[in-house]
């Protein structure tokens, strides 16, 4: 079985609890009523995560003010090291509309389960790294899952997918 055999549940059925990068409690119901774009990552990752955040920043810039209606969130798969303060500093390098979510490991595990996403902690060189689901999840304003933008997907396909949840 792969991570792609199952789709995320609708946002209205999600029940995880996390904390945003401003230290405020977060519940998925806060996303309802607006289209939503979510991805998983962590700040110790120097390659995939900044690349995804830059891509998303570019997409948001391309979409312009229209994208103000989107919820955009990075869920940290490394809550041990990614405090709200660290996430805030990290995200200050990217589009200000991106919100960072972190919290307790149990909250992250529930979030991953709701998204049918996976993450795995791997010991490495006296430290550890994380393997994690790399795509960007898109949801309509009613919270229904619509599609995933894969990590290596051409941006010509990414923008139309986002436009679809904005209409």
């Amino acid at each position: 079985m792969t991570g792609r055999d199952l789709l995320p549940i609708p946002i209205r059925d999600m029940s995880f609890r996390l904390t945003d990068h401003n230290g405020q409690p977060f519940a998925p119901s806060q996303w309802l009523g607006r289209p939503t774009m979510v991805f998983f990552g962590f700040t110790f990752c120097p390659d995939v995560c900044p690349t995804t955040l830059s891509d998303i920043s570019d997409w948001l810039a391309d979409l312009g003010p229209e994208a103000d209606r989107l919820n955009v969130a990075l869920i940290s798969v490394d809550p041990e090291r990614d405090t709200p303060t660290i996430l805030a500093e990290y995200l200050s390098n990217f589009d200000p509309r991106i919100v960072g979510l972190t919290g307790r490991l149990t909250g992250l595990e529930k979030a991953a389960a709701d998204f049918r996403a996976t993450f795995e902690k791997l010991p490495r060189d006296g430290d550890y790294t994380m393997n994690h689901t790399a795509g960007v999840f898109l949801f309509a304003a009613d919270g229904q899952f619509t599609s995933i933008i894969d990590f290596h997907e051409d941006r010509r396909f990414a923008i139309p997918k986002i436009r679809r949840i904005l209409t």
């Binding site: 891509d55 500093e89 795509g135």
Partner: protein
């Protein structure tokens, strides 16, 4: 004026476009070496660059070294079934007559154990070891954390 991590490199730093210039060893040409700023020194840094093999013999990049990191290594980001991982890799092929790159989302230099945070505008030396062509040292420019490609005229990411 750029802030340079090693005082001995100040002379190089006076040439702002150095990271955009092409450095050669044997049949190998290296250019557009860049990195991303880091939050502190605990988080690993990254290196991207472009390599051209102008010869008729296949070569391979087999190592990276820099005084600013205790454990520099080659990684390859792999996305399989939607899951991203970045295993160590022993070498990156640089086939005869072709261009290969350390680039976002693929092969990259991973700088573990940084001696200090990388700040936008810094530059540092990186020595690449090729199986056939041997060693060559390039200057890596540190760009912003959100950078996606080298800031050079006609740069490839």
């Amino acid at each position: 004026m750029k802030r340079v991590i090693l005082a001995t490199l100040v002379v190089f730093a006076a040439m702002p476009a150095l990271a955009c210039e092409t450095v050669r060893v044997g049949d190998i040409e290296v250019e557009h070496a860049w990195s991303r700023a880091t939050i502190g020194a605990d988080r690993p840094g990254v290196v991207y660059l472009s390599i051209r093999n102008t010869g008729s013999t296949d070569d391979a990049l087999i190592g990276v070294a820099t005084p600013i990191a205790g454990m520099p290594m080659l990684h390859e980001t792999v996305v399989s079934d939607g899951i991203a991982s970045m295993p160590h890799t022993m070498s990156m092929p640089v086939p005869a007559g072709q261009t290969a790159a350390l680039a976002p989302g693929g092969f990259h230099g991973m700088l573990m154990g940084l001696t200090q945070a990388l700040k936008k505008g810094d530059s540092f030396p990186l020595t690449l070891t090729f199986e056939t062509a041997g060693d060559v040292t390039v200057t890596v420019e540190v760009l912003g954390m959100g950078a996606k490609e080298a800031e050079c005229p006609n740069a490839q990411p």
